[in-house]
């Protein structure tokens, strides 16, 4: 289990981390969320000793992390980086060797992952000859080559087409199912909701929300309301009679309203039906996007 507690880090006058923490068990997949500049990348770098925190603890299975433990971790940094002129297979095998694999092990693992990610035919191509999406796949393979116990991925889905997203998601699910601890950051919250049981949302270097996605939704004091109205007169006037509205938006057809969970909707529904037709009505727990917006605003 990875346990990060109370990390603090200042860069000069800038506070990057202000008590950040997270926990990922083996077999768990954690979505690590936050707006740009919240401290996600700094936290991930700290796991690999690339940033030295001013204070706080990072442990793996209860032990402090050193160089030897890190060899059992896999990392995909936000800024992708591989040797552009090196062949895909050689590149992966080299990284496997650096993580302590034997020559044969590393070479076989490189073949396995290139095949698994649909790049078997490109294995002798230099990285720079591959498309952006394929480079991303090699980058994922670089994080997985040594069969790590912990997988740390910084924005693994950024810039991927839907098919590549599918491949990536499947690979991550499989790793978690094999008992690996997986933590990744992303701005694609639908995807996170789909993949992760647990999330941590940080803002300005602090944890603002953490827990099981389903519990967070149930416990949230807000609800997500979607309406499609066909009214004579002004729909906005009608909406204005709602109590406890947090935010509204309109896409030309449907109104989306974020509303207090204890608001009384019965009166509103009656008024809406009087005014015209209510073509669509849904009242649900908030989406992860709603929770995120609430947490960081």
């Amino acid at each position: 289990m990875l346990k990060v507690q109370d990390l603090h880090k200042n860069f000069g006058d800038i506070v990057a981390l202000d008590g950040c923490g997270l926990t990922v068990p083996r077999g768990g997949m954690l979505g690590f969320l936050g707006p740009n500049g919240a401290g996600k990348t700094t936290t991930m770098r700290a796991l690999f000793g690339l940033v030295r925190p001013d204070s706080g603890t990072i442990t793996w299975d209860g032990e402090p992390i050193g160089h030897r433990e890190r060899l059992r971790f896999g990392y995909m940094p936000e800024e992708r980086g591989l040797y552009p002129k090196m062949k895909a297979h050689d590149q992966l095998a080299y990284l496997g060797r650096l993580h302590g694999q034997s020559k044969i092990q590393a070479s076989e693992a490189a073949d396995y992952w290139l095949d698994r990610l649909g790049l078997a035919e490109r294995s002798t191509d230099p990285i720079e000859a591959l498309s952006h999406g394929n480079q991303q796949r090699v980058q994922l393979a670089a994080a997985l080559i040594h069969d790590p116990d912990l997988l740390v991925l910084d924005e693994p889905f950024a810039g991927l087409d839907p098919i590549a997203v599918e491949t990536m998601s499947e690979a991550l699910r499989e790793q978690a199912a094999k008992g690996k601890a997986v933590v990744f950051s992303s701005h694609q919250l639908d995807l996170v909701e789909d993949l992760c049981e647990d999330v941590v949302i940080i803002n300005e270097g602090r944890v603002v929300v953490e827990g099981r996605v389903t519990s967070l939704k149930d416990a949230a004091p807000i609800r997500h309301l979607e309406l499609e109205l066909e009214v004579e007169g002004d729909a906005d006037e009608l909406l204005a009679t709602l109590d406890g509205v947090r935010a509204t938006s309109f896409d030309g057809r449907r109104h989306t309203v974020l509303i207090d969970a204890d608001s009384d909707l019965r009166g509103f529904l009656a008024r809406a039906q009087d005014a015209g037709r209510l073509r669509h009505f849904s009242y649900t727990t908030p989406s992860l996007t709603d929770l995120f917006r609430e947490a960081v605003q």
Partner: protein, 403 residues
Amino acid sequence: MTSLGTMWEIARREIRERGRSKAYLLTSLITLLLVIGIIVVPTFIGREADEHTVGSIGEGNAEIVQAAEQIGNAAVEPGDDPNVVIEIVVFEDRETANAALESGEIDVLLVDGEEMVTEGGTGFFGSSLARLLQRGAATVELEKLVAESGEAATEVIDVMTSDPLELSSLSGEDPSDETGTIIAYVGLMLLYVAILLYGTWILTGVTEEKTNRVVEVLLSSVKPWQLLAGKIMGIGLLGIGQFGLTIVVAAVAIQITGAFDLPELPIEGVINLLVWFVLGFLLYAVIFGAAGSLASRMEDAQTAALPVTALAVIGFFVSITSLDNPDGLLATVGTFVPLTAPFVVPVRAALGSIEVWEYVLAVLITIGTIVGMVFVAGRVYAGGILQFGGKIKLRDAWRSAGQ
């Protein structure tokens, strides 16, 4: 994997990838062709004699020219082609002679065996002819003086061009043996080129890893000093390979063509050069590595390395001075300054004008500096390598690694 294993793995990658790169193969090939060309081509062309034309007005000029020619060819074995050929053109009056001098038809004009006229300044090559003629004239004068004693002119010239003093040295070495000078001179050139060339590889290699961001992936499993040390090891071996091959090919080419009288290389001379190549390369490589870590873009890398390159240039010039005056103050100071020592010490050693204690002390100082630099530059590297965006200040890199 052990630390050494990791470093070796990094070194191997450098050797494999760089060794196969077009740039490496091309520079190796060009160097080889150049060396072979320098050695082989002259043997086909053969040696050309210096040909001069001297104008003559009045009497007494022919003897001077003849004596000058004899002096110029004093070192030529009988039966070989001459080094110097001087042709005489006789003029009746001064005007035509001056016109010929101006048009370049003649190089120099001699008048009555007493006056020498040139067109303008003699220039570097013209002066060698002028000097020969002066010596020729002096010989003719001398000949007149000794004429009463009955000696012939050729004998006077023999005496003048010989080294009548028997030469010996306290150390027992043959002082006329120029092997030491050749090793010093060639060795200095090789050291300078090699240290700067391979140092620049380190510099650009380090910056490259930052530019393409692969360094973050690498440093998630490798310590910064391992990465730097592995890189230096790989490029160092690659450099020794390239230079070694060049030297072997040069030696073989000389053997086959017989282009030069190859002095028998003394083992100490070679060891001396090798020791200082390794020391000098290590010292500069570590500093170049730190400089490279301070730049985020290739364009900034050269700027970051400028102070280092400047030091190497200073070392080179101090060393050139030492070639002439290996016991001078500058040479002595340069021996104990770590960044100039790799250029100065091997030259002084090759010339046989360095005390054993000086040599040993210089080696120790340099090794000490390398060890110190590994810590200093290693810390700068560790701090600079993960900071992106623009040029990183030395102080910031130092501090950030210390935190």
